[in-house]
Every structure is written in structure tokens, then in C-alpha cells.
Symmetry: C2
């Protein structure tokens, strides 16, 4: 297809979304929940069909030389199909944020002012070859009353489309408009460019879900707001007043529970006042768990077994069993290190000193700041949001885990009895 | 100055703001309030000096052929100086939003999660030749703990700088960092382009204050979030169940109280069921107040005194004593007209029917929706925000009047007792 016709097609699609967004915003909770529950049923019923399409796409991707991790991400099986369906049912059970009152006050002239949650409008989700995102992201967006445009990775676009068809059909059965969820079928990359342009103001929000290169492209080129994070370069700081056992457990869990998640710690900061005392046990626990250690000059001098970390190390989100470690001058040193190197995702302090914790929580300006807890709790499910569309490290609208509530905005309702302004 | 050196200069300035933003975010309420109160004193003390600079700039602008409205906007006098000082004292009295708890919950594993307001960071304010904006906007931004960069219109840049100097000196006396407020002295337009680029991620938010061409340029070219509204094409809808007296008073006040403000009504929608009955009195009151009337075909047929409105009229924010009027098929017709023509600023329904009002307030998706109240209440002061930086019609972060609270974001604080994730 020519680039021009791709753009024309995307404009049509966005215009349909814009129109559908009004009806989707007005849909009642029952209608939306019914759509999600039905979608789960349709997906279960067509599991065999979906798995056959997926198997064909996996073969092709394998033939093209895609690696094991890539193939695993795009692969479905009966169990994964069931978790997709279950996730839909869980999102159906979440409270409907639309229409919820945020705050309400009365002016001296009798005007009642209320801020009420409303959907954002049209949300475009750009993701890689992970078919489950199709349904999961669409369901969260629609539950919050938004119209959604989905653009998935080309390697499993047919699997995603088969899942999407179940979702879309369920929307129709529940009486939601056709344009409430749309799927971009062309693998043409011009379609992504068109979404990033905002299509003449028809897209209100972009959500990239995937690896760093996708997120970086969206952040760099988007002309509309983006909800995303590029890096999760998370820190654990072990303070002089840390409980040694908590310090050890939180450090090991933050780094090693799962190393590939954005909430995994990438750097450990240790207070110079206790490094001699605490490092040996922490180091041996980390090594035992299979973690490679790279220390700054101070740690390197102290422990002949650590490699020497570069500045680059402290900027790196390894997403692997590697930890960079720096010795810092107390909480002030930790705050300064984080201000320089952090990606503003999640940082945790381990200390029994309430004053020190207070200072860290106040002065570290990341989306999530923690006291005596593992950074691996940086997750919408762990926050109790029920389902998350991602974690945002931007500064406006929403920070940290974003769920259905974060996919809404608000309007101001003013109720009077005939007031005019003097 | 060469464009390159302007950009280099702006980068330095933005870097200073970035650094200062951390300290400004940590400043306590007393420090910030002291700065604002002192600034008011400095401005009063130097009134004569400021007025002399202003007089020279007015002469120059007049010689360059600037019109009366332009000259009025840039003019200061003793009374205006006093209101600038008073506004500073009012902003000082507002509650400090930084650190306020938005919500708090406890997870089954004992983790306490709290969302707490934090400053946005570095805010750039781009405005026209209205020297009062210098101090007003800077004060709101700093009260919310942000570092601010000001770029005012070139015709009164010296007046603005003289006011800025008072503000800046007061910040210093209160112990706030030098970079907490900065003023762009070069009249070079490349400086605006540099701000719009975001200066390498150093600017978090842009706020344009001024006419449509300025706002349009910022919205079109900005690579960072913008808080603004382009148009205030506000509607009043008079329903079949309207109280005739309220309909008349609210229409006349919405249009004519002040025609140049963004909350002024530009279009009246009348239910076809009552147009025969209500139009004559409303029309005569509007004409008496000096308003020109332009009706759609239905009204044109009914009233030989109205001019025929074009589609263009219904898209126009007149900011003048002109009103376009359309006859609509009940509340559904009004909602449809608004969806087509509104700029999503403010719309009001006049009706005694609670169900009809409920539908209008739910389905009209503007930043402000009103029932039985004049659209001229679309104002931060009238909302009780104390001071406003502007009215936002974008969909993310803040909608409607934005005050100090809307110039904050939040972070998530997680308090544990050693929890690790299973």
C-alpha cells in the first residue's frame, strides 16, 4: 500500500474512533462489563483456532531467525489463553471510574462545583509481538470508557487479530459501537508514524508497550501525550540505620526475584558508615543467587571480588543478574546519586530511622519512592489497581502504575440556581 | 546574537532551572510565602522606577503604531502596580499544595501506599506584552514549588524585567535558589523556539498566556506538554423546561458581562419547543445591551431583525458583542451542536428539568459544564482557586481553571516493614 493510502486509512480509523468515543464514554458499567465477560468466553471457545494461527506465525518467525525470548513472548498455549480470558474477567470486576466524584465544594454564591472522572477519549496503543497485550490493553482502555486503536507487532499480527476479533465481537453484542476498539491490520510502518502524528488531533493519548527502542521512538516522535517509561533504573539505598536482615532480604529480592521487570533494582547504594559491616553478607547472598557485582572505586578497594563499575554502569538498566554498587555518604549521598543517575521510576530506602526515611521519601523525586520494601512491588497489581496499562515516569497526568483510573481525566460540573456574575 | 548563541544561552538557563527545581521543590511554605510577601513590598517601593520604565516603553510602542488595546494591556499605573502587589499577597495566603496527601490505602501485605502532591518541576511561561503576567504567573508557579522561566513580549520587556527583578530579589532574601525564577532578556524569537523544543528534556511544562496566535504556535510546535486553551467558544443552551427569567439573565450575562473573556458565551442554542415563546424577550434584552445577533435559518425565518449566521459563525470565538444563535431539537440537538462546534471550554444549560440537566452535564464533554449558571463563572477566582494560571482545554493532567494545585503532580510513597515480593 502507498504511504498516502496508509495515512488516509489511519485517518478514517481515527475519525471512527473519535465518533465512537462519545458513545463509549456514555456506556454504562454493565454494558462494558458484559463486553469484557463475553470476550473472555469467545476467546475460550476459539482457543483452538487462535492457537493454530499462532503456531503458523511462530514457525514463520522461527524461520526468519527470531531468538528464543522473542518466540516465547509471541507464543500462546492453552494456559496463556486462559490467563488472557481470566484477566478480562478481573478487569470486568474492577470499579468503573467513569462518573466518580473526585471532589466537590460550594462557593459563597451557592454554586456547587464538582470534579467528576471522564474518559480521556481516543487512546492508541502501540505494542510489540505479544498477542496478550491486544486484549489486556484494549480491555483496560474500554473499561475506562475510551475508544482504543491497537497496533501490534507484525510477527504475530494474525494471532493478535484473532484475539481482537473475539473482543470486538463482544463489544458489538454488548451494544458498544464498532469504533470503540479498532485494530490496525497493515504491517506498514507508516501506520505507526500516522498514530504518532496524532492524526489531526483525533488521538488523545499514546501508550507504547514494549522494549526500549519502541518506547524511545514513540517518546521522540509523538506529537500527542505519551504514557510510558523508557527505563527502570531502580535503586535500593541501605542506610547506616538499616536493619541488617531487612537490608539483605530487600536487596536480594529487589535485584533477583525477577531481573527482567522494570521494577528490578539495578543499583545498590550503601552508606559508607556501614559498608564494612553489611557488605559481606549482602555480597555473598547476591553471589549465591547468581548475581554479578560491579562496584565503584570504594567498594572495589574493599572487596577484591567485585568488578570495577563505570559511570555507564550506573546509567544502565541491566534487566539481567548484574548489580552496580556505590558507596555513598549517608542519605544525602544517596539522594544525590539518585538525582544524577535515576530514570525516576522506583527507589527504596532501607532504614529504621524515621527521620532519614522521611527525608529520602520527600527528596527523591521518582514516580515511586519506598521505605523498607522491595522495588519489585512497583506494579499495578501489587498496588491494588487490579490491572495496569504500564508504569509512567513522565511528570504530568499520572505517575507510577497506571490502571483504569489513570486512563480517565475529569471535567468540572457547576450546578447553580440562576446565578449570574456581577 | 546568533541563533546558536541564543540556544546555548537558553540551555544554560534551563539547566540552572533544572538544578534549582530540586531546592524549590523542597522549600518550606514559610520560605515561599516570605518571598511572595517581600516581592510585593519591593514592587510597591520601586513603583516610581517601574512606572518610568513603563512610560518609556509605551512611548516607543505608540511611535511604532501599536493600537489602543495593545497600549492599554502593556500600561501600568499606580493602581495596577498595587493590584500586582496585592495578588502576590493573595497567592501567599493560599494553601501550599506540595506534600498534600491525595489518597492513601493499605495493601493486604501491610504496605501503605500514599499519593502525595509534588511540584511539576521546570515550567516555562511564554506571554505577550502584559507586564503583570510576569509576577502573577511566576508567583503561582513558585508557590507550587516549581522553577519558572519567563519569556515576555518584547514591547514591554524592560517593564517586565523591572518587575521580575523585585520578584527575584525577594526569592533570594527568602533563601530560594537563584534559578528558581529566571527571565529571558533577549528579544530574539529563537529563544521561544528553544523553549518549545523542551531544551533536551529540561522543561516539563509550557504555559502560553496571550492571544490566539501565540497559543496556536505553542500548541503546534511544542515538544513538551502544554497547559492552555486556544478558543473559548462557549455555549448557553436554553431548554424547553427553562425558567424564562433565568434563561434571559443567564444568556445576557454569559454574553455581555465582559465580551473579551474566554468564558463569554459565543453561541446561544434554543430549544425549538420554546423558541417562539422565549426569543422575543431574550432578543430585545441582548439588543438593548448592544449585542449583534446572527441566527441560523430557523431563527432567521422567525425574526426578520437577525442576520443569517454561517457555519463559520458557529465556529467563531467573537470576543465581541456578537452572538450566533441556533434553534435545536431539544437537549439532544444541543449536545450534538456542541459536539460539532465547541472548543471544549465551557457550556451551560438552563432548565428546571433535573433529568435533562443530568443528561447535558454527563454528555457534554467540555472542561466546564454548567447548569443554571452564567458561563462567565469559568474563572479560577470564581471557582475558589485563589489565583489561576489559565484555563486548560487539553484532556490530560488538568482541565478547566488551573491554579497552584494544578501546577503540581504526585508521587507514590510506599511504606513497608521489610516486605519482599514472593
Amino acid at each position: 500500500m502507498s504511504e498516502e493510502s496508509v495515512i488516509a486509512q489511519m485517518e478514517r480509523l481515527a475519525e471512527q474512533a473519535r465518533t465512537a468515543a462519545r458513545a463509549t464514554a456514555m456506556a454504562n458499567t454493565d454494558q462494558k462489563n458484559r463486553a469484557l465477560i463475553n470476550a473472555a468466553q469467545f476467546i475460550r471457545k476459539r482457543a483452538e483456532h487462535i492457537l493454530a494461527i499462532n503456531a503458523a506465525e511462530i514457525s514463520k518467525a522461527r524461520a526468519r531467525g527470531k531468538g528464543a525470548a522473542f518466540l516465547d513472548r509471541m507464543s500462546l498455549n492453552e494456559q496463556r489463553i486462559e490467563s488472557i480470558a481470566t484477566a478480562l474477567e478481573e478487569i470486568a470486576r474492577l470499579a468503573d471510574p467513569v462518573g466518580a466524584s473526585i471532589k466537590k465544594w460550594v462557593r459563597p454564591n451557592g454554586l456547587e462545583i464538582e470534579r467528576v472522572r471522564t474518559p480521556i477519549g481516543v487512546i492508541a496503543i502501540i505494542y510489540e509481538s505479544r498477542p496478550n497485550v491486544t486484549v489486556d490493553a484494549a480491555a483496560i482502555a474500554v473499561k475506562a470508557g475510551n475508544a482504543v486503536i491497537l497496533r501490534g507487532g507484525s510477527e504475530c499480527i494474525k494471532t493478535s487479530k484473532a484475539l481482537f476479533d473475539c473482543f470486538h465481537e463482544a463489544l458489538g453484542v454488548a451494544g458498544l459501537p464498532d469504533g470503540a476498539a479498532q485494530f490496525v491490520e497493515t504491517p506498514d510502518r507508516a501506520a505507526v508514524g500516522a498514530l504518532l502524528s496524532g492524526l489531526g488531533g483525533r488521538i488523545d493519548l499514546l501508550i507504547p508497550r514494549g522494549g526500549k527502542s519502541l518506547v524511545a521512538r514513540v517518546q521522540a516522535e509523538a506529537r500527542v501525550p505519551v504514557l510510558s517509561h523508557l527505563d527502570g533504573n531502580c535503586h535500593v539505598y541501605v542506610d547506616r540505620d538499616a536493619d541488617p536482615q531487612k537490608a539483605l532480604e530487600i536487596t536480594v529480592n529487589s535485584k533477583m526475584r525477577r531481573t527482567g521487570v522494570c521494577g528490578a533494582a539495578e543499583t545498590l547504594l550503601i552508606d559508607q558508615a556501614v559498608v564494612d559491616k553489611l557488605w559481606p553478607a549482602i555480597a555473598s547472598a547476591l553471589r549465591e543467587a547468581g548475581c554479578e557485582l560491579r562496584g565503584d572505586a570504594a567498594l572495589y578497594a574493599l572487596d577484591p571480588q567485585v568488578a570495577l563499575a563505570s559511570d555507564e554502569d550506573f546509567h544502565t538498566e541491566y534487566l539481567a543478574p548484574i548489580l552496580s554498587v556505590a558507596v555513598v555518604a549517608g542519605v544525602a549521598g544517596a539522594i544525590a546519586h539518585i538525582a544524577t543517575f535515576s530514570s525516576s521510576h522506583t527507589e527504596s530506602i532501607v532504614t529504621e530511622n524515621a527521620e532519614t526515611a522521611k527525608r529520602f521519601l520527600a527528596e527523591v523525586d521518582s514516580a515511586i519512592v519506598m521505605h523498607n520494601a522491595s522495588t519489585q512491588f512497583a506494579d499495578g497489581g501489587e498496588f491494588g489497581l487490579g490491572a495496569e496499562i504500564g508504569i509512567a515516569t513522565g511528570r504530568l497526568h499520572a505517575r507510577g502504575p497506571a490502571g483504569v483510573e489513570e486512563l480517565t481525566t475529569y471535567k468540572n460540573i457547576v450546578r447553580g440556581s440562576g446565578q449570574v456574575r456581577p
